[in-house]
Subunit: 223 residues, 4 copies
DNA sequence: AATGAATGAGGGTTCATTCAT
DNA sequence: AATGAATGAACCCTCATTCAT
């Protein structure tokens, strides 16, 4: 996903294609920031991944911070686009809900760099996200999709009434992300293979069960 | 736990309190690593928090890495101790389960530095945890407690049979941690106050509901 | 070779003479390493000698070790070049031999920094020399010259047969270097001015006598 | 030679014998300074070799510089003592001369640390030696022995008249020391095993030949 | 439009020494 | 007499950024 590397002949060493250069740098930066976090990432390492120089990166993006901002915007744009592809109208509310859970879960497992960038941004206390007009007004189709499904289920009577789409998304995201974000500590402490190396289908099924059990049930009286 | 040293004038050179110094450094380092992650943390900043010098820190801990390791061990030791205080025998399985969820949830909200250190360690791909014999063999009482409760509930017939304690802990941890770890991005994107500033009781209730719905249900057939 | 940069005001920021800068740094480093040895030399002191900064030196050479390596290679390249200038064909073997001794002796006296760098490298147990492909394959013309002269003398009958060029070079180098390397201890202990401050012509004559006596004689029976 | 290590029972861990402590530190310091030079040596490393602490070393010796001074004095005292053991009166001048050469040569090969300390001191431009009253007035029996032998040989007519003992000692020292001091560079450049690992007897024989050829000859006319 | 040269600030670490006890 | 605690200075190196061209 992060590979662009269009083939280059030796004769024309420099592509002189600003667009392509920008994209290549962005891809390299995404990988580097995901791998090492904001502070851990080095402009030199990013330059090395693109076979260009630090100076060029600053020339294109201005600074490390602005480069990171661009990365952040890109990874959120990507997930937004993916979410737009979700087609749920032909499914029953329960089926649709399971589909959403599985889609989200798989996206995290398959796009670990997205998860790691999100973690990095939270480590920075959301500083860059707040500063980005693009991101502050980003709407996430998944929430709309969820809202529609929930509404359908509620009017059908198959889903409980006292839930809001954001809370449901939060639960799905939490269960899906943890599997990636905490794979190293949780994995080591409890001897589990997690993330892409774990039992993806199995854990995804558990997460779907958790979400669906919650949404169909009328509530548990333990108090 | 994170409070600074009592103020000292520059005139009185030697506090002569190695134990206290060590503890103070550890506390300062915990705060700094939690705030900025491993790479972002600076030995100078830690020293400043303790009103001592980088040299002293290295005198006590040897290096940034070993200091971080000490912090990591301490925060895990703390949660372990807290988990040991959980008394559940007098509660019904469902009550006990809700208690565990609430305890865990509250611990994360109340010990944000723990959560942030765990995040930092995962960002480092668990490198330091793997190296620490203490941590590699750490058992977490919460899992034993969970196992006991689940067993009780299963023999009673109130809890489903096809769950293992580690998966349950993973779900509880995921739902609780997300609220802290992702508070900045999720909060900004969906206009929610999260973490300690959010509706703690409300969200904790939702998490408990999710877990309990899952455990009491026989499963949902959406496929 | 060791002279400093031409003075520059602080106002004119960029000299833009990378070649010259490199050379200046190398010269300063040679002087510093010769004066203080590898460990004793400080990057700051070298920077001060060039009116630049440590960072620039690392920009050019990468690290203290690589800078030292460059110095080592340069001083050996220099002596090699000087040795290539030796013209001996028109001299009789004995005359040629005396010329070699005098050349070598004078080179050490006149290039004390070379001798001190060699000493520093031996103090480091030849670590850097071993690592340098350039140096490991360096051939020293002086040995070829010596071999030719010895062969001529042997076929003429004026030089003894049982000597090899490397041993002869070793003896010449030993007698010449000691005068420089040990000038401080030997000079102080035996109240002698040595090195460039001593009786250069006189000692050089003695060394030539020693070498020539050895090579023309058939051997001494003291046992 | 540098091992003192009198056996210690576990009961009396601390020998509390200032003399022995001093000696042990001195031995460790000799080894460390010889191995790494003045700047390269670390007080910590010396302390580690003695299983004591830096503070104790400073307590005994005052500073790194004074410790080094003590080492310097000790190694010169040792060679002086060894030289006093030389008995030459029963030998012919030529035999005695050969004996002196061999003794000196063997001493250097067998006491490499002495040679390395002398090198270190010359690297420091003899600074410490000059400051030491003990060393500044040190007479070296070897020169007296040499003077006596030369005088005997001259009156006998077997040795040339135009040599002084200090020059002869210088030549012997030069040829002997080089074999140790330059073993790493010369050895690597000319593929020779030198120092204690080389052909000790062979090279020693060459050195004796060189010195004796020189002293018995009337001089060579190459000019 | 693009880049090699250059730099100031700050990074973590080592070290010889001091000092109270 | 002996030592653990503490420190300031200096160490080498990395870094994001600037600037002239």
């Amino acid at each position: 996903m992060l590979q662009l590397a269009t083939s280059r002949t030796k004769a024309m060493r420099k592509p002189k294609a600003p667009e392509a250069n920008r994209a290549r740098i962005l891809a390299a930066a995404t990988a580097e920031f995901a791998a090492r976090g904001y502070d851990g990432a080095s402009m030199d390492a990013i330059a090395a991944r693109t076979r260009t120089t630090r100076a060029l990166i600053n020339y294109y993006f201005g600074s490390k911070e602005r480069l990171y901002q661009a990365v952040l915007e890109r990874v959120y744009a990507e997930i937004r686009e993916a979410e737009e592809g979700l087609e749920l109208d032909h499914l029953s509310p329960l089926e649709a809900m399971r589909r959403i859970v599985e889609f989200t879960y798989d996206y995290y497992v398959g796009h670990e760099y997205f998860v790691r960038i999100v973690v990095a941004e939270n480590q920075a206390r959301g500083r860059h996200l707040k500063r980005s007009p693009t991101l502050r007004t980003l709407n996430r189709p998944i929430v709309d999709r969820l809202a529609a499904v929930i509404a359908r289920g509620q009017s059908e009577g198959t889903l409980r009434r006292d839930v809001d789409p954001v809370s449901v998304h939060m639960a799905i995201a939490a269960l899906g992300m943890f599997n990636v974000t905490n794979q190293f500590t949780f994995g080591a402490l409890f001897q589990q293979d997690m993330g892409a190396k774990g039992d993806v289908a199995g854990r995804r099924g558990i997460v779907a069960d958790i979400i669906l059990s919650w949404l169909v049930t009328a509530g548990v009286s333990a108090r």
